[in-house]
Each structure stands twice: as C-alpha cells, then as structure tokens.
C-alpha cells in the first residue's frame, strides 16, 4: 500500500452567507491552488466533492470551473461525515496506485438538506438533531453524574479556541454563566450547547509519497484510518457510548500502531457539548465517565489539545466541509503553522468525524 500525505489544505471563512454551493466549492479549490507550491491543474488525477447539497454533478462542475480534467471525479454524501468519507476515498485511490494526486473539496450552505435524516421513522416527530442529543445528554447525566456546568465548559473552551481561528463563524467568547443562561431548547440542552449550521468550504490535497515533496516541504502522513457504521436509525443504539467511534478508533490506532495516550492534538465532532464528552471517552483519551472533569481541567489550564480551531461549536458546522476542515486543522497543527492556537510540539494528531446521531464514525490519525 502506497503511503499518502496531506500536501495542501485550506478553509474558507464560515458564515451565514447565502452563497451558491458552486461558489463555496470553487473558493476553496482556488485558495488551495494559491497556497500550494508547484500545483497545476494537470497534476490532479482525482476530484472528489463532499456535500449534502441536492445539486448534481458537482465534482465535474468544480473540475471544469477550475480547469481540471481529472481521471476520477465524483461526489460523496454521508451527512455530517461526508468530508472524512471523501478523504478516505481519496486515500484509497492513491494508496492503491490508481492515482497520485487527489483534490478533495467540501462545502455546505447554511440551509443544507443534510441536517435531518427523513428515512429514520423511529425518531417519530422528534427528527431534529437536538432531540437525539438530548437523549444522549440525559443518559450521560443519569449514568455518570455529568452536570450542566461541565457541559457548559465544553462550549466555553471551544468558543474561546475559535477566537484564534480566522475561519470560524462565531468568534465570540462566552462565560460559563452566559452559556448556562442561554436559551433552553430542551430540558437537557441550551442554545450554546449546540453547533450551528453555516455556509463554508474547505479543501485538502492528498498525494502519494512519490510526488509529495513537489508540493510541500512538510507533508503530513495519514497513518491510520478507521470507519464504522452501526446503523442508520438512531434509537437502536446505546445512549451512553458511541459504538461507531469505539470501533473506528480501534481500527485507526491499530493501523497507525499507536494508542490514545500518544495523541498530541485532536479535532472531534462536537455537534453538541455532550458529543465531545462521549467522543473523548470512546476514543480512550479519557476514562469513561470522566470527560466532564477532563474538560474543566483543559479549560482552566488553557489547553488546546482538543478542538484547537474551536470544533464545530466554535467554528460552525457546514456539514460537507466539516471533516475536511478538521483534517486541515490537524495538518496545520502538525506543520506547526497554527499561530495563536498552536499546540506546542504536536507530532501525532487525530480527527474524529461522525454522522446521523453518531451511527457512523470516521477516525483518522495523522503524523508530521
């Protein structure tokens, strides 16, 4: 299997803008070309587009808009983890030898149709993600004694981190009190416990070892990949553990020959505050039931180890771009280019991205 590296990456400014999906995708592709040394359209073998938008044939459209005539060009949709699914597909094309250079572009509009899985009749009338997140939250509170204050620390930490992320949608800093007094959406979740859909895009250039040094002096290698889908429907899953993340992380650690305690920096899918807690536990970064204290400690020590760009809560959540923006952030960290949000000495990074009430997860491990 050929080694695969991230050789270029970019994230556009996330916003509430009413911007065409083609424009969002093109702006990320354009930025990637402007920021990547020696990259020309003729170098690109593969163009993959990650989005939940209903428009058709977007990968060939973006290829044409960017002057690229790729061998392979198609869209990938998997709700909130479309982005990392696209990265895994591009990895596969390169590692198998079918391609040397893949451009992966993800984007979403604020009004994405990917926010609700209509097929899942088991959700009844409670189809919006805030309802499954409320079930997770209540179950975690009940089993582990997790408090609303601990949940608020997740939001406070990630909003604070986002202040140093120029691409973040919401760079406002919130106090614990402001978060705990924000609008109550359900008995268990408040407005500032939630990430927000927005418009935005991101792009990553994946390349084979053979050509990597043409495009970057500091390639970031994808060392581990894990993916697992437990179901599409929400209600059949355990409410205090994310089985898909547990399975995917075991695969990724095994492939990378590493362990959770070796991870220096991670971007995880904090669609809601409870998600970050459960993910950190299910990745093995913290013992089950202890994430609340761990996050409070991170906030108090100003640690940026988890979600240094602000995660989904701080940065915004343009679904198809999210997984790609997570990879772009970890690559930035491992290249020591993250400026004010840099985790010092980061060598090994992790991305966890998931979809549809955590029924499907992707875990990637990257190394400088």
């Amino acid at each position: 299997m050929n080694a695969v590296a991230v050789a270029g990456h970019c994230t556009t400014k996330f916003s509430a803008g009413d911007i065409k999906i083609e424009s969002l995708l093109f702006s990320a592709a354009k930025s990637l070309f402007e920021q990547t040394q020696n990259l020309t359209q003729k170098d690109i073998d593969v163009v993959l587009v990650s989005t939940n938008d209903n428009k058709k044939y977007l990968a060939p459209i973006i290829s044409e808009m960017s002057g690229i005539s790729p061998k392979i060009s198609h869209n990938i949709e998997s709700m909130c983890n479309s982005g990392t699914n696209s990265i895994v597909s591009a990895f596969s094309y390169i590692s198998s030898g079918l391609a040397d250079v893949a451009l992966v572009v993800g984007a979403e509009r604020f009004d994405s149709p990917g926010q609700v899985l209509e097929w899942d009749l088991s959700r009844g009338e409670f189809r919006h993600p805030v309802f499954w997140a409320s079930m997770f939250t209540k179950a975690h509170k009940r089993k582990f004694g997790t408090t609303e204050e601990q949940l608020a620390y997740v939001s406070a930490k990630n909003h604070r981190n986002a202040q140093d992320n120029p691409s973040a949608y919401d760079s406002k800093k919130y106090t614990i009190e402001e978060i705990m007094n924000s609008k109550k959406l359900t008995d268990d979740l408040r407005l500032l416990d939630c990430s927000r859909p927005c418009s935005g895009s991101a792009a990553v250039l994946l390349v084979s070892e053979k050509v990597a040094r043409k495009f970057t002096d500091s390639p970031v290698w994808i060392r581990g990949i894990g993916q697992k889908t437990t179901s599409a429907s929400f209600t059949r899953n355990d409410l205090t553990r994310i089985e898909s993340t547990i399975d995917a992380s075991v695969q990724a650690y095994s492939m990378a020959k590493t362990a959770p305690d070796k991870i220096d920096v991670a971007e995880v899918h904090d669609a809601f505050t409870i998600c970050e807690m459960m993910i950190l536990e299910d990745l093995g970064i913290v013992q089950k039931g202890h994430a609340g204290k761990y996050i409070v400690d991170m906030y108090n020590t100003e640690s940026r180890k988890i979600n240094p760009r602000g995660g989904l809560i701080g940065s915004g959540h343009p679904l198809g771009a999210t997984g790609i923006a997570q990879v772009a952030e970890i690559a930035t960290q491992l290249q020591a280019n993250a400026a004010g949000r840099q985790v010092e000495g980061a060598k090994l990074g992790l991305v966890q991205n998931m979809s549809a009430a955590a029924t499907s997860s992707t875990v990637l491990i990257l190394e400088s």
């Binding site: 088991s122 309802f131 079930m135 409410l239």
Partner: protein, 105 residues
C-alpha cells in the same frame, strides 16, 4: 406510502415480522433485514418501557421500547417519566412524519 405509514394514518402502530425467520425488522421495511424474506404486518404489543426521556417547553418526550426491539420516539403524557416505566400507545398518527403519544401503563 408504506404499509407502516398507511396504518399509522389509521391510528394503528404496526411492525413487520418475517414470514420465513420470524425476525422483526425495525425501522420497518417490506423485506426482512436478516434473511431478505417477505415481511407481514401486525399490531405492536404493549406495554413497552421507557428507555430515556427529556422534555421541551413543559412537554415530555422519550424513547420507548416495545417487544424488546422496537424503539420509537414520542411524546409522553406522564408528568415525570422515568427509564424503566411501563407505557402504552395512547395515540399514533402520520402526517408527513410519524407521531406517537405514550401513556403510563
């Protein structure tokens, strides 16, 4: 519209069971997810139990489990629902999406 949705519109909560291997497929489908055999439809048996619950604007909602496998989200009329509490289907309907109301057994 599927048989599940059609029956819900009539106020009947049905589940599909395989005519070949007897397994229940949930969420519902015309064919068995285990052996791909044909499914037949029958009423869901009560009571179920509450798995987890929360609330919104003073109204409670929960995940309830019936027959040990069929989990559905719905409103619950009890003012203080708790996991493990037995419930029955008080009302069900379908108008663009399923709607269930559970009552304490």
């Amino acid at each position: 519209m599927s048989a599940f949705e059609t029956e819900l519109k009539r106020g009947r909560f049905v589940v599909c069971q395989c005519t070949n291997c007897d397994k229940i497929t949930w969420p519902p489908n015309d064919f068995c997810s285990s052996c791909f055999g044909s499914n037949s439809w029958r009423d869901v048996q009560s009571p179920g139990i509450i798995i987890e619950c929360s609330g919104k604007d003073g109204n409670k909602f929960c995940i309830a489990e019936f027959e040990g496998i069929i989990r559905i989200m719905g409103a619950v009329s009890s003012p203080d629902p708790k996991p493990g509490q037995k419930v029955r289907i008080a009302k069900c309907s379908f108008d663009k999406e399923p709607r269930f109301t559970f009552s304490a057994d």
